[in-house]
Amino acid sequence: MHISTTPGVWIAAFLTLFVYSFLYKDNPFYKFAEHLVIGLAGGYYIVTVWFQILRPKLITPLFQQGNLVLIFPLILGLFMWARYIPKYSWISRWAIAFYLGVGAGLSIPRSMQALIIRQIQATMLPVGFHSYQGWMNLFIIFGVLTSLVYFYFSAEHKGLLGISAKIGIWFIMIGFGATFGYTVMARISLLIGRIQFLMTDWLGILH
């Protein structure tokens, strides 16, 4: 059993235990780790934005390579800083409007293609009563249609509509249960990873 001698590993190990102490109850050790990681993540955010966005995408191309088009995003960025001046803080809405408009515009055709057209095409399956797959295709179409009825807002879920909405929620709940069960293994392996770090890299028990 040879305990690690690198200080970094000791720090990492203690911070890991600080966070796990949260499972018992909120305590000063967890508060320290929490505030520490928020500070570090803040610093990390500053450094990554500078080296991965501002310098390569604005400072170098605009000031060194003279790509003058970039003056517009520079102005829109400064508009955002106008929030610090109460009298002119409304100008920041121009930059927000640009950011918003681009996002909304991009999402319309892409979600139409990916979420709707591709999915309904994949549901147009040959139904057959003499093969397993034929029955399964019927099962898929029936399931998608009833689940869709569950999201129907224009009418009370009563009568035939009520029944199919009820069957729809059955499908949805079975689907959620299956996804939940499927994810347990991935989450447990996260814990195995941390425990192996503590027992191998830190305490050196395992190898």
Binding site: V19, F22, D26, Y30, K31, A33, E34, H35, V37, I38, L40, A41, G42, Y44, Y45, M80, R83, S92, R93, I96, Y99, L100, V102, G103, A104, L106, S107, I108, P109, M112, Q113, I116, I117, R118, I120, Q121, T123, M124, L125, P126, V127, G128, N137, I141, V144, L145, L148, V149, F151, Y152, F153, S154, A155, H157, I172, F176, G177, T179, F180, T183
Partner: protein, 401 residues
């Protein structure tokens, strides 16, 4: 007996034929080998039917070259190992190899060309010798202004947009639109009421995405309505944010709600602040807030990732009422198990319109419902056509790259 004789005769008849057949086969077989063996100077037959054209539906600078496989590729003498594709600026000009493919492949895309410049091509079949096809071209590459492969998306977008505009306008003209009560909605009002009775703050999480994510915008509209109620009941609203732009918009929305509720002085911008831009630092921070501020109600509305269960389960430890709503299908199972009420996918999008009671916003929900009716009809029709193996209908919905 006669049958037996016949079979006898037939037998010997058959007996005489077989050696003849074997003989013919042998001669043919040797002939083939004989033709090949002495110093194979025979060239592989060249590929034919070479065509070159500007690759469609792209930004240009790309020419597609197709050809029929050489008769000696995969069949015939089956000696062809691959093909070289040669290009030149003009029919007589000097040809240069721009690419090569292995045997059995009969197409190539040359992506090192300028737009609006003529190029000529020819294809060379090669084994240890080679022979070339005739020259084809000149042909020019250019970018297209409309991607024909995406027409079906255009039709769907135009149809749905007109549905939304139609229903919003009819709602504006005062037409009464019925929308069934959604159980989660009154849970929102109850939850805010409960927080005020207990005199404990409300926590509102806008999700871990940027302002350009439509889920974040839907969540901001709900925040506006929740903030109005909070202002009326004079309870405290905490909004730790993941994205600075979402933070600024949230501050604007909440300030506006306090204004509408007639209590602009009670608005405290300090309660809407930036926490962290990294997923699990943000989760650590929010966990701390939930336990220390003893929030009565937690709202998780917007886009979420794996941290959803860390937040919701901690909220459960703190004993708060929790209402979630997201379009992140992968996280819905975890919200369903740990929150008091969860708005599933489209319910979350309908919530903002529903809570506002504004007619024109309800109009968009009607459009969504009509869209669903259309999709149901298409699926049934598609299923029917697929079952009778009439595939052209299903292929209508294939979208180009």
């Amino acid at each position: 007996m006669s049958t037996q004789i016949q079979s006898e005769e037939k037998g010997c008849l058959r007996w005489r034929i077989t050696p003849l057949v074997v003989l013919i086969f042998l001669v043919a077989f040797c002939g083939r080998i004989w033709a090949q063996t002495p110093g194979d100077t025979l060239l592989p037959s060249p590929p034919s039917g070479v065509t070159a054209f500007d690759t469609p539906n792209d930004a240009g600078r790309n020419i597609t070259i197709n050809w029929e496989l050489s008769p000696d590729d995969g069949k015939g003498r089956n000696t062809v190992m691959g093909y070289d594709i040669l290009r030149s600026e003009s029919r007589e000009g000097e040809f240069v190899v721009v690419g090569s493919v292995v045997a059995g492949i009969s197409t190539f895309q040359d992506d090192k060309v300028e737009n609006h410049k003529g190029y000529c091509y020819k294809v060379r079949a090669k084994d240890h010798l080679s022979s070339e096809s005739e020259v084809v071209g000149p042909v020019q590459a250019s970018g297209e202004w409309y991607n024909t492969g995406r027409t079906v998306v255009l039709i769907f977008v135009v149809l749905f947009t007109s549905l939304v505009i139609f229903f919003v306008n009819s709602a504006k003209r005062g037409k009464k639109l019925y929308v069934r009560p959604i159980p989660g909605m009154d849970a929102v009002d109850e939850a805010v009421g409960r927080a005020t009775e207990m005199g404990r703050p409300i926590l509102y999480i806008l999700g871990l995405s940027t302002i350009s994510d439509v889920a974040t915008i839907a969540s901001l509209t709900i925040l506006g309505r929740v903030a109005k109620k909070v202002a009326e009941f004079q309870s405290k609203l905490l909004v730790p944010c993941y994205d600075p732009i979402v933070m600024t918009v949230a501050q604007e929305v909440v300030k506006n709600s306090y204004l509408d509720a007639g209590r602009p002085d009670a608005y405290d911008e300090g309660n809407i602040w930036f926490l962290s831009r990294s997923q699990f630092a943000y989760a650590a921070g929010v966990n701390g807030i939930m336990l220390r501020e003893r929030t009565a109600t937690n709202f998780y509305l917007g886009m979420f990732y794996a941290e959803s269960l860390v937040l919701a389960e901690t909220g459960n430890i703190a004993g708060s009422i929790q209402i979630a709503g997201t379009d992140a299908v992968a996280q819905l199972p975890f919200f369903i198990t740990s929150c008091d009420y969860t708005l599933i996918g489209e319910e979350f999008y309908a919530a903002s319109a529903y809570l506002s009671r504004e007619p024109k916003l309800l109009g968009s929900i009607k459009a969504q419902d009509w869209g669903k009716v259309g999709l149901v009809a298409l699926i049934i029709l598609g299923g029917f056509f697929a079952s009778i193996h009439f595939d052209t209908f299903v292929n209508l919905f294939t979208v180009g790259h």
